[in-house]
């Protein structure tokens, strides 16, 4: 055994953290990663389908912004994803793993549809809309508050807790749609109040989704200011970076956790309101559509900066819409377009590694020593 010892311990390469890169360099790395992703996608496309990669790419663009209707659909979807992403951001910045946005959105939606179905006919619009807003915010906030209280008081694991709250929300939706099915006995809720449009968001200047988009834009500005310039935002960053420092400086950590999750849940509730009253006018188990999870990626990719989140959510929605289009146009299995999306996202996330670290090979390390 002793004779087998290798004396040279220097590995072939090792990884070292790099200093802050200038902005243009990190931008170049990001652009490079997208180019690399498109090249790898092209190879995969040719190998598995024999199609021309360029026409596939053209189809992606066409699927996302090919027509006016599609472009509006794209903006609407970006707005919805962005709204949920903004909602989860304060929680994640505080290192509170809120993977229960899906459930919080659904609860907001459930509260909205409840008000629309049972009070839509009786309340004046001037009362109805505020009631809907308050109900959705409350429902989302409560769904965020429960795991926060357990975390603050008994240090339960918020990841499991928020995840399980999702299933409860989904089952509540199932129960609600079964009991209040429209039309009766169908087991699901169709489009409600389609004659009176009670509780429907009005279309501004003929654009159905414009109000949603304006609301989300306002929320984006709000969240940016809240995180960067408010005392609350500062406190939650300190708690997220180091609970010890927070305690040392006299921040009430429990209070900050609860307050932040109330905000996070409330904003998810608003997303539910926008999805139900401003988009679908109905509710199903799929109303949130996985946005509660995709939002986490949007938020982290943008490093919790609400302005960057516009770009990251746009990217993800763009790819998703394009993927649907190529699977219909080229008669490809939908999984294939998901593979392409996966490759592109993999490269984009991977580029973060090269922005933060550099790889040093053995000979280059030796040079440094000299």
């Amino acid at each position: 055994m002793a004779s087998k010892i290798v004396k040279n311990h220097t590995p072939l390469f090792h990884i070292a953290k790099r200093d802050e890169l200038p902005f243009y360099k990190s931008l170049l790395i990001r652009i490079g990663s997208i180019v690399a992703a498109l090249i790898v996608c092209a190879i995969v496309i040719i190998a598995f389908t024999g199609e021309n990669p360029l026409s596939i790419y053209a189809t992606i663009v066409e699927g996302a912004v090919g027509t006016k209707r599609r472009t509006w659909g794209l903006f609407q979807n970006v707005a919805m994803l962005l709204c949920v992403s903004l909602a989860v951001t304060p929680a994640f910045k505080m290192k509170f793993w809120n993977i229960g946005a899906e459930g919080q959105v659904l609860m907001g939606g459930l509260a909205t549809i409840y008000v629309m179905m049972f009070y839509g006919e009786t309340l004046q619009p001037a009362v109805l809309y505020p009631v809907m807003v308050i109900a959705s915010i409350l429902a989302g906030a409560i769904w965020g508050l429960i795991p926060a209280v357990f975390k603050a008081l008994w240090n339960t694991n918020e990841t499991l807790f928020t995840l399980m709250m999702n299933y409860i929300a989904i089952q509540l939706i199932s129960y609600y749609t079964y009991v209040n099915a429209v039309p009766k006995g169908s087991g699901q809720i169709g489009i409600i109040n389609s004659d009176t449009k009670a509780g429907w968001f009005p279309s501004l200047g003929g654009y159905d989704y414009l109000l949603n988009i304006i609301i989300v834009a306002a929320l984006t500005v709000f969240m940016f200011v809240y995180l960067k310039y408010s005392k609350h935002g500062y406190e939650l960053s300190v708690v997220g970076e180091s609970e010890n420092t927070a305690r040392y400086i006299g921040i009430n950590v429990k209070k900050v956790i609860i307050r932040t999750m109330l905000l996070s849940g409330a904003m998810c509730g608003i997303a539910g309101l926008l999805l139900v009253a401003g988009t679908d006018h109905s509710i199903t188990r799929e109303t949130a559509g996985g946005r509660g999870f995709t939002a986490i990626m949007v938020s982290w990719l943008a490093k919790f900066n609400p302005i960057y989140m516009i770009l990251t959510s746009l990217l993800l929605v763009f790819l998703e819409k394009g993927a649907i289009q190529i699977s219909t146009k080229f008669q490809l299995n939908p999984s294939f377009s998901e593979i392409l999306t996966g490759i592109i996202i993999f490269f984009i996330i991977g580029s973060e590694f090269f922005i933060n670290y550099r790889i040093m090979f053995r000979h280059s390390a030796k040079k440094e020593v000299k």
Binding site: A2, I5, K231, Y234, V238, N244, T245, Y248, I249, G250
Partner: protein
């Protein structure tokens, strides 16, 4: 004599960056012998042992096992050479029982737990270990866990055993038991190395004693020829003159009084035992002690971060003349009382500062609450950041640099600068010069002295006795959570402090 040597180290050197942890250390252990490695914190004991156990690889030097030169590349390789280390922090799987933990990771094809149990029982009977095989690790006491660790090492056939501070967590009765087992193992021909800084234990258990100081090997003595004061002198060394200025305290008045404070940690062990002292304005009170003797808990108790079981902490407000009890107050409530208490904690980036935030935002930690606005004002903290960078010569590109990118000395300047900026009446600093180079250290000493001259009550927890003696007006020594003495800094002798630091207290001596 040579064929009796179990392991020999020749000129081992290990550096971490610029810090020399071990320098040219040579020592040897014979079969059937217990060697104590003695030294203060940071003297390089654990680093040295980790090199033998294959965790670190030495930069220079040779290791001989049974007279053959070896280079130990991994803990597994150390086991192959029959070297086993029992770490201070146990490495056991909580939900497994003793046998499962012991056989874990041994490659003998398939596990045969029955045969293993029989073999383990045999080992236990031979040396007098007691293990309850039905218990899982999480149900065991600290001493039982330690037994499992030792048996694990023996089961793997170790002939050279290294124990890193094995008595730190044990009760007196358990220590007696451990020592009996160790003696039996020695009589069986095992070579045992035990790391500790408790002098009386060293004298009780070992055959020879090797002393390290600041990474260097000082010498080895036979226990039969050794006594406490001689070992202390070897450990702390001779007095070095540092030329830190020390002014006479001007008009000292009692600023902070700690009365009979008791504290327990999460496991229910007593960490502060009836501590009483006073801190005066215009003086520097030093706190000396082996690290982990309760210094951190004491400062955190004063700062409102550590729950006190009983006792009082009374602050005499120089402005109002009122006295306030700070006991059971949160840091926020203490501030609201008008107590201007500044605290430079030991863990600079994990507690005093936020590593990922820039200098301005770190300045704001103390002041952001000011005013009723919902929003932050970054103007003042930015001015303060610029002032500190200029006054204390902090090396940084600008105020927007995250503090974790600064070097250790500059991080400390930022932290101390901020704490001083709030013009405190009490300033507590825990190991403020740890890891700092000479120049940065003197900057910090000067800052502390400047505060003292302004009439601040300064409490300085230090590890370097030379510094404590030159800087402090009075030195409080604690050992095992108890105050073992309060000395005058101008007349105190190093050996005297060293003895008080290792003095046996009721907490860990006890009814035998």
């Amino acid at each position: 004599m040579t064929n009796n040597t179990a392991i020999e180290l020749r000129n081992l050197t290990k550096t971490f960056g610029k810090v020399v942890a071990n320098k040219n250390i040579s020592l040897s252990v014979n079969k059937g012998e217990i060697l104590s490695v003695l030294g203060e914190n940071g003297s390089g004991k654990t680093t040295l042992m980790n090199m033998i156990a294959g965790i670190y690889f030495p930069d220079e030097g040779q290791i001989f096992v049974d007279g053959k030169e070896v280079s130990i590349t991994s803990p597994k390789h150390a086991y192959d050479l029959k070297i086993g280390m029992i770490h201070q922090h146990f490495k056991l799987v909580d939900i497994f029982n003793a046998v499962e933990n012991i056989v874990l990771g041994i490659d003998e094809g398939s596990y045969n737990l029955k045969a293993a149990t029989a073999k383990i029982k045999e080992t236990c009977d031979k040396y007098g270990f007691e293990i309850d095989f039905s218990k899982k690790i999480y149900e065991m006491s600290v001493s039982e866990k330690q037994t499992v660790e030792i048996v694990k090492v023996l089961y793997r056939g170790a002939d050279i055993l290294i124990l890193d501070e094995p008595t730190a967590v044990l009760t007196p009765q358990e220590i007696d038991k451990l020592f009996n087992v160790l003696r039996k193992m020695r009589d069986d021909g095992k070579a045992i190395i035990i790391i500790t800084h408790k002098l009386y234990e060293v004298l009780e258990i070992s055959d020879r004693i090797a002393v390290l100081r600041k990474g260097e090997y000082i010498g080895t003595v036979n226990t039969a020829d050794a006594n406490e004061s001689m070992l202390t002198e070897m450990m702390v060394g001779e007095k070095i003159s540092l030329n830190i200025q020390r002014s006479e305290p001007v008009n000292p008045t009692e600023r902070l009084t700690v009365k009979n404070v008791n504290c327990y940690n999460r496991d229910g062990a007593k960490i502060l035992d009836n501590i009483s002292f006073s801190a005066y304005s215009g003086e520097i009170l030093g706190i000396a002690g082996i690290s982990g003797s309760g210094q951190r808990e004491l400062l955190e108790a004063i700062a409102g971060l550590q729950k006190i079981h009983d006792g009082d902490i009374v602050y005499n407000n120089p402005k109002t003349g009122k006295s306030d009890n700070l006991r059971d107050k949160t840091p926020m409530q203490i501030r609201e009382l008008g107590v201007r208490l500044s605290f430079v904690p030991e863990d600079r980036l994990g507690m005093g500062l936020v590593g990922n935030m820039d200098i301005t935002d770190n300045m704001m930690l103390r002041s952001y609450r000011k005013g009723h606005s919902m929003f932050l004002k970054r103007k003042e903290p930015k001015d303060l950041a610029e002032k500190i960078i200029k006054d204390l010569q902090v090396v940084t590109p600008d105020t927007k640099t995250p503090v974790r990118r600064l070097s250790g000395g500059n991080v400390q300047k930022v932290l101390v600068g901020r704490e001083i900026a709030s013009s405190p009446t009490v300033l507590m600093a825990a190991y403020p010069v740890r890891g700092l180079d000479i120049n940065s250290s003197y900057t910090i000493y000067n800052l502390l002295n400047g505060q003292k001259e302004k009439g601040v009550a300064v409490i300085f927890v230090g590890e370097d006795l030379d510094v404590l003696i030159e800087l402090c007006d009075r030195i409080l020594v604690i050992s095992g959570g108890k105050v073992t003495g309060i000395l005058d800094g101008r007349t105190a002798k190093k050996e005297e402090i060293g003895l008080l630091m290792t003095k046996k207290t009721n907490g860990d001596g006890g009814e035998r």
